[in-house]
């Protein structure tokens, strides 16, 4: 799997090869050159309508080792989107061309747009070297000025972004971005920033390479003081709106609705993603800055065709009918797996594995900061939560809901991760009703009402509701139906509150739920998403949202958390500010130790791996890849080196 990776030495070899090729006399090599680019492009070159390959890719293109041998140019890759707001379906195939990129194992970063970098000893200053001669998809050079424009003029502009995206702010100070020379950029942060290189490989870290200065500056008042006519023509009221309409942003549909906008992506928009569209098509970027080990320019595949489905069932039908070449988004549920697998032969496709980066398929978050003091006292008691956990028959849930493809599990990094933490992951996962009853009796919930439910000391029934978004995670709802029965057996009354997702979020923001469930992240990316390990995520750490608000606002809003939480916040901040992975692991182990001791949220079953399908004609797709938002699959497996056989 690591053959797709690339080491520094090979990169320079590749660069040298290209440089050499570029300097040779061109006529006798025309034939060979023709084989190193798509036929449609070499025709254009011969007609003098496109610069030669060497001019297009520059002197230091990224050299990618293809997954499979004997690639050929051509073909259209078909894929499905789901209605509006599925812009990230495009992002996940083509839109992750950051300064760095992930390796296949999701453990470290490799050169992307930047060919190399230096990090200062205190992890505050990051210097990136760009690729000389690299170009935007319209042929204009990509230089340090573009990055400066994107950072200084765009994301630090208070009219465009009222406040800069959080990953650019450290210790309350926004990043400082300077040009060293045309191909060197320096980022300086107010404090140590150990995760910066990784952040640059995630989708939210794409800002430096998002806006082409020569194009997007046309919509920016600093460079164009005559925007009035354009505003009128576009029917918008301010320049920020116009800018977003034309140049997009990382995660909005209009990123894919302007065919004119230059990008650094392997394919560029042909038929845009907009309101009435029934499909989106993209065609190859003739200036794409990556080549394979034989010097052939990527991508191999000519075009992409995204069909827009309103309904997941009809998307599924086209998957099993073999009418899509690569699909994992929207269809990768366990419930779909048997049907997809049955139709493999008839549909002419194969399945590949996507390794869950989630830790748990369903984390139960008791609200230990509940507004009601009685409930807060009950749910805030660790022994009470321990009894709840022992009362769950996880084996039954795994068998019935997850078709046996999982195991009982609390939270924490997955067993394959180097930071796997036995106690955090496995404590209290046995089904032990007797012990659960003993604990509850001892806690004073020993009286029962006529229906055999336990009573609180104040005479109220031990009862609470649990928020779940059924439409989103039907498996969570199924699991809760079983848990409701399990807890009934130990005398606890649970009401499943199946609600719509906006209400779920609104209730969370108001600190209203008694309990809530959500698939627990942090299985493969514990540093990037530690919401289950301490009160980190103001919308995600659902056991104590006011504490997380306190943390995220630097102590200004929310509610002050207890010391064991503050200790974890301190440890995490320390881990986050070092770039040394071993040190990060040492600090995070302490976070996990405390989290295991406090046992704030309950897990049910380890998140099972999911799947994707690839047409049998499509080669180069790895048999297994991570499934994560931070590793936005399948983009880091480099679809530009996928190709079609005959």
């Amino acid at each position: 799997m690591d053959n797709i990776g690339l080491n520094r030495r090979r990169l320079f070899q590749g660069a040298a090869a290209i440089a050499l090729a570029g300097s040779l006399p061109t006529e006798p090599r025309a034939q060979a050159v023709a084989a190193r680019e798509a036929p449609e492009l070499s025709t254009l070159v011969q007609q003098n309508r496109l610069p030669s390959l060497a001019e297009r890719v520059g002197t230091a293109p990224l050299v990618v080792t293809p997954n499979e041998q004997n690639p050929r140019y051509g073909g259209t890759l078909r894929r499905g989107l789901r209605g509006g707001s599925d812009h990230n379906g495009i992002l996940r195939l083509v839109g992750n061309q950051g300064l760095t990129r992930w390796n296949m194992e999701f453990t470290d970063v490799l050169p992307g747009v930047a060919q190399s970098w230096d990090v200062s000893a205190d992890s505050k200053i990051f210097t990136f070297r760009l690729r000389p001669g690299m170009r935007w998809s319209d042929g204009a050079p990509f230089t340090a000025d573009d990055i400066l424009f994107s950072i200084n003029d765009c994301i630090l502009n208070s009219e465009l972004y009222r406040s800069p995206p959080s990953l650019w702010v450290i210790d309350g100070q926004p990043v400082r971005c300077e040009k060293v020379d045309d191909t060197t950029v320096r980022f300086t942060f107010a404090g140590p920033y150990g995760l910066f290189l990784q952040q640059m490989a995630t989708p939210l870290g794409q800002h430096p390479t998002l806006f082409a200065k020569h194009y997007c500056s046309r919509f920016h008042p600093k460079y164009n003081n005559d925007l009035a006519a354009q505003l009128r023509a576009a029917n918008v009221s301010d320049w920020a709106q116009l800018f977003r309409q034309r140049c997009g942003d990382i995660e909005i549909p209009s990123r894919w609705s302007n065919p004119e906008k230059p990008t650094l992506e392997p394919w560029v928009i042909e038929e845009p993603y907009q309101g009435g569209a029934t499909r989106v098509t993209m065609k190859r970027n003739p200036f794409f800055w990556q080549v394979d080990t034989a010097g052939r320019q990527l991508p191999y595949i000519d075009r992409l065709n995204f069909q827009i489905y309103q309904d997941v069932e009809s998307l599924m039908l086209d998957v099993i009918g073999g009418r899509l070449d690569l699909q994992e988004r929207h269809i990768d549920t366990l419930a779909n797996k048997p049907v997809v697998s049955q139709n493999q032969q008839r549909g002419g496709y194969r399945m590949f594995e996507t390794v869950a980066s989630l830790s748990n398929s369903m984390t139960i978050y008791p609200n230990i900061t509940h507004k009601d003091p009685k409930l807060r006292e009950m749910l805030g008691n660790k022994d009470f939560r321990r009894a709840l956990s022992l009362g769950i028959n996880r084996a039954e849930i795994v068998d019935i809901v997850y078709l046996g493809q999982s195991e009982p599990w609390q939270i924490g990094p997955r067993p394959t991760h180097p930071w796997y933490h036995e106690k955090l992951a496995r404590q209290f996962t046995d089904h032990d009703q007797a012990e659960a009853n003993r604990i509850l009796d001892r806690l004073g919930y020993n009286r029962r009402d006529a229906q055999r439910f336990r009573l609180r000391p104040d005479g109220q029934r031990v009862f609470f509701t649990i928020d779940v978004i059924t439409a989103l995670y039907p498996d969570n709802n199924d699991a809760l139906e079983l848990i409701k029965r399990h807890w009934e057996e130990i005398g606890i009354d649970l009401k499943i509150n199946a609600i719509d997702r906006s209400l779920y979020y609104t209730r969370g923001d108001n600190n209203d739920p008694d309990m809530a469930v959500w698939p627990g992240p942090g299985g493969l990316e514990p540093m990037l998403d530690p919401r289950d390990y301490f009160a980190q995520h103001p919308q995600g750490t659902r056991y104590a949202i006011p504490w997380a608000v306190w943390y995220a606002s630097g102590g200004k809003d929310g509610m002050e958390p207890p010391d064991h939480q503050k200790e974890r916040m301190r440890l995490y901040d320390a881990a986050r500010s070092t770039a040394d992975t071993a040190e990060q692991g040492r600090l995070m182990k302490q976070v996990f130790d405390i989290a295991a001791e406090q046992f704030e949220c309950l897990g049910v079953a380890m998140a099972p791996n999911t799947f994707g399908v690839a047409s049998n004609r499509l080669r180069g797709v790895p048999a297994s890849m991570p499934n994560s938002w931070s590793w936005p699959h399948p983009a880091p497996s480099l679809p530009q080196q996928f190709f079609f056989t005959g």
């Binding site: 972004y161 995206p165 029917n235 995660e251 907009q274 009809s314 719509d500 906006s502 979020y505 919308q539």
Partner: protein
């Protein structure tokens, strides 16, 4: 008659204003707003929106302002400048989004309507004239079957059979090659080749009710003295039927035209979602689910306008068909 029409048209103005207010209010009613929904949609794929970005979006779309201010911004744009605003989701003018889909929508719904009538009216008449005959029972049975099967289910089953057993794709209104091609004879043929599937599915669902209405109305009329008189005067049975009882029996159908016009937009939504038809219904549904207020509001306003216009049309048609109806 002219005075009547004028009065009705004038009354439409306050009705529309009231309706626009109600529509806007209803769209706002669910908890959260466009941004909450947007964040939640992304979260569904475990995708995260930066917190600051979310707050900023809310600010930019004016979602922090009080309801009445938001309503005023919207309605004043429409009244003063004919501007329906930008769709939050697509950052495109709402009017463009709507008109883009209206053509095919109109085609699909009118063909469905015509097919429904073409099937239901003759059968309704036949069932009444030959009441309790074998044909009456057979047709009634089939029609009820059609009514009982939800059309989206029929669509899904048809699509599944087509994909798995015939290896054919019956979703959409065009084949791959013609989706964005300019209009040509070949494209029209392609459209017709796809159109009959959804039209049949939708028509099957609509016929049963219509057959029953037609049958009952006819049974009422068939034994009236004027029918006996006409027969006594020697009119052929066929001419007699069409000239008198059918003309009266069709009355209730005409008076429901007012409800059919808004159906043009929202009628076939579920089938359209299942079959990926590029018509207005799914866009409206999506706009409502995303709380994309300007887009959804414009749709609702359009539907209400159509309802009012439809009502007026029914009244005028009724007056033309049935001489017993008077204006006052």
């Amino acid at each position: 008659m002219a005075g009547f029409i004028l009065r009705r048209v004038l009354w439409m103005i306050p009705s529309l204003l009231a309706v626009s207010f109600l529509a806007f209010f209803l769209i706002q009613l669910p908890p959260g707003d466009y941004v909450t929904t947007y964040v939640a949609t992304l979260a569904a794929s475990n995708e995260i929106v930066d917190q600051r970005t979310a707050a900023e979006l809310r600010d930019r779309f004016g979602l922090n302002q009080p309801f009445i201010v938001q309503y005023w911004l919207w309605i004043s744009g429409i009244l003063l400048r004919g501007d329906f605003g930008l769709s939050f989701e697509w950052q495109q003018p709402v009017s463009g989004l709507i008109w883009e889909r209206m053509g095919l929508t109109l085609l699909l719904t009118t063909s469905t309507l015509l097919l429904t009538w073409a099937i239901a009216l003759p059968i309704g008449v036949l069932s009444a004239v030959r009441q309790y005959s074998f044909a009456d029972y057979v047709f009634t049975f089939i029609a009820f079957l059609g009514l009982a099967i939800p059309s989206f289910l029929l669509a899904l089953v048809l699509m599944y059979v087509a994909v798995v057993y015939l290896g054919q794709d019956v979703s959409g209104l065009f084949s791959e090659a013609y989706q964005t091609a300019p209009w040509s004879l070949a494209k029209v043929q392609d459209l017709l080749a796809h159109l009959w599937v959804p039209v049949t599915i939708l028509a099957v669902n609509g016929t049963a009710g219509l057959i029953r209405v037609m049958r009952a109305n006819m049974l009422d009329e068939l034994h009236r003295p004027y029918v006996v008189t006409a027969r006594a005067k020697g009119l052929s049975e066929f001419r007699l039927l069409l000239k008198y009882p059918v003309r009266l029996a069709i009355n209730p159908l005409v008076s429901t035209i007012g409800w059919m016009l808004p159906q043009l937009i929202s009628g076939a939504t579920i089938v359209a979602v299942v079959m990926s038809l590029p018509i207005a219904g799914p866009l409206l549904l999506q706009a409502l689910m995303a709380q994309d207020m300007y887009l959804a509001g414009a749709f609702l306003l359009l539907m209400c306008t159509l309802t009012l216009v439809g009502m007026l049309l029914s009244d005028i048609l009724l007056a033309l068909i049935d001489p017993r109806i008077r204006f006052d």
